[in-house]
């Protein structure tokens, strides 16, 4: 038996009890933060921004212009060309017979007024960067993820909008690359490519947005702490996620004010690309569901673009019924995801090619071979 259930049973009870207690604390915390947010709304925007900028290394929200405790509803339907990009990757393992790194990116394009099926494109690329030999030079998971982020933006850039409809370009996850720029000779050029792709999207006037489901971000909470106490929340103290605060503020379909993102990497994005965000309630009256939407400055500065984006996201989420999530992003994921059996098939094909070149000493590690042994069967 893999788990000791006898030992786990009391732990499960304890876990549930602690969770219930934590929830009570969260409710009280949320009430306090809401009161602070309302107080904050009366303050001049520049005062707030200056207090937060005094802690430039803190990840924190900066008011961008709209009143911070207001919500914004949208009406009507926005005709547009909607693009969704997603990517997945194979991360090489030293235990595999042939370590293989791959990025698979998909783009799904929908003319929202056409009633026609979306157009789909998939691009697959094997990453080869192994001057020391295929067995010894493994690309790191971090670098492959960064290359995937770049590939997602590149595939959006490559889209040629054939008509005059406004274009919304969605991707799953944040626009601000987490902990970027990473250090090292391989990371910097990738980060520059990411910024260059964002610039191209700005030139094309595509409304770029990163959709973040179940965000754990605490940037607004941090802003409120700085505003109220003059100090950011101590690192060891857990802040309430923004989504929890927004649940109490946003009605179904409503979005929060737009905020600017302050972080250590903000300076790398420049004025046009600087990351902004808002929260959106894509849920129902009886069940709020708050998501975070990150947008670059060229979208954040244009109320028409924001409203169109809000309408498009709500329409896309509505398609998925009781579990709202943008349909097109899900389709992009479906098209991009590389399943385990596909990875195995690709590795077999690569092994065959290597054998054709007279390289036939590739075997999985003994550890992996032992794990792959067949389990017991019945006669």
């Amino acid at each position: 038996m893999p788990l000791n259930y006898l030992e786990l049973q009391p732990q499960l009870r304890d876990y549930a009890q602690k969770s219930a207690a934590a929830r009570e604390k969260t409710t009280a915390q949320r009430e306090q933060l809401l009161a602070w947010l309302n107080e904050c709304a009366g303050e001049p925007r520049e005062t707030l921004r200056q207090s937060c900028r005094a802690f430039a290394d803190e990840r924190c929200a900066l008011p961008a212009g709209e009143v911070v405790n207001r919500f914004f509803s949208s009406s009507g339907s926005g005709e547009c060309l909607l693009l969704a990009a997603d990517g997945s990757q194979i991360v090489p393992s030293a235990h595999d017979a042939v370590p293989l790194a791959l990025i698979n990116t998909s783009l799904v394009m929908l003319d929202t007024a056409s009633g026609q099926a979306p157009v789909i494109r998939t691009e697959s690329a094997i990453l080869e960067d192994f001057p020391a030999g295929v067995e010894f030079e493994l690309l790191s998971e971090d670098l492959i993820s960064l290359k995937r982020d770049v590939a997602e933006l590149d595939i959006l850039v490559s889209c040629q909008a054939s008509h005059d409809l406004p274009v919304i370009a969605l991707r799953d996850g944040p626009l601000e690359l987490y902990h970027e720029p990473r250090q090292g000779r391989q990371f910097q050029p990738e980060f520059e490519r990411y910024i260059a792709a964002m610039q191209l999207l700005a030139q094309k006037d595509f409304s770029l947005a990163g959709y973040i489901d179940r965000s754990q971000s605490t940037t607004i909470t941090q802003m409120l702490y700085i505003f109220k106490t003059g100090q950011p929340l101590p690192k060891e103290q857990k802040a309430l996620p923004d989504v929890s605060l927004m649940e109490a503020l946003l009605p179904p379909g409503g979005r929060s004010a737009v905020f600017e993102m302050q972080s250590t990497s903000s300076k790398h994005y420049g004025e046009t690309l600087r990351v902004h965000f808002f929260y959106l309630n894509v849920g129902r009256p009886e069940k709020a569901y708050i998501v975070r939407v990150e947008i670059p400055a060229w979208v954040a500065g244009n109320p028409e673009k924001i409203e169109r984006l809000q309408i498009a996201l709500l329409e896309q989420c509505r398609v998925m019924g009781s579990r709202p999530y943008p349909y097109l992003l899900h389709r992009a994921h479906e098209e991009a995801v590389v399943h385990y059996d596909e990875k195995e098939q690709l590795q077999r094909a690569l092994l065959q090619e290597l054998q054709n070149k007279g390289m036939d000493a590739f075997l999985p590690s003994n550890k992996l071979a032992a794990k792959m042994l067949q389990s017991r069967t019945r006669m």
Binding site: G115, Q116, A117, P118, R318, V319, M320, G321, S322, R331
Partner: protein
């Protein structure tokens, strides 16, 4: 006239095969006679005995939404990799222009093309008061045999009638009665479905 591919083979055995086609495509009706060429001179014939449309998690979730946009329906039919699966019951073959009602010598292979037979081919296959292939339908497992017989006899009967052979349906029914004369529980539901065909 160039024949149109209505599907490609997914899996097969000696008695039957499963063929897939995109949901958006006009697929053959239940009971239709189809052909799968094995080579220039060899063709396998079969009847569509079952049509299967699978779901998945996304389709189930979309079905619960208050309304489904046309674009989403088209996306699921055209782009998503869920083929309509058709079970084809082998009923005979043709080698060097000679039709046989025996099972084919070897089943077709993955991705072999399947074509819908024309009225002329249907008449050719069912001609000459030779009804040996009906035993494959009567012996078939996991398909609704009585309704498959009814659907096939209705289509073949109409094709034969159009060629001036109005006795064909009666002859086929008589052959089935002879074959099942000692198996009353199986015969009765088949006769009932055949009566429905005649009255239709």
């Amino acid at each position: 006239m160039e024949k149109i591919i209505v599907g490609r083979l997914l899996r097969s055995n000696t008695r039957a095969c499963v063929v897939g086609c995109p949901p958006a495509q006009q697929f053959p009706a239940f009971g239709s006679l189809v052909s799968i060429p094995l080579s220039e001179t060899e063709v396998v014939y079969g009847l569509i005995g079952d049509i299967h449309i699978d779901d998945d998690g996304l389709v189930r979730q979309l079905a619960t939404a208050p309304s489904v946009d046309e674009a989403v329906i088209q996306d699921n039919r055209l782009n998503r990799n869920v083929p309509v699966e058709m079970t084809v019951l082998f009923v005979g073959s043709k080698t060097e222009n000679r039709i046989s009602h025996l099972l084919p010598a070897r089943p077709p292979l993955s991705l072999d093309c399947m074509y819908l037979c024309s009225t002329q081919e249907l008449c050719e296959f069912t001609a000459g008061s030779r009804f040996g292939y009906l035993r494959h339908i009567l012996d078939a497992q996991d398909v609704p045999a009585a309704d498959l017989l009814a659907a096939h006899l209705a289509q073949a009967g109409a094709a034969q009638r159009a060629q001036g052979n109005s006795a064909w349906f009666g002859q086929a029914a008589a052959r089935i009665i002879t074959q099942l004369r000692d198996d009353y529980p199986r015969l009765m539901p088949i006769l009932e479905t055949l009566a429905d065909v005649e009255n239709a």
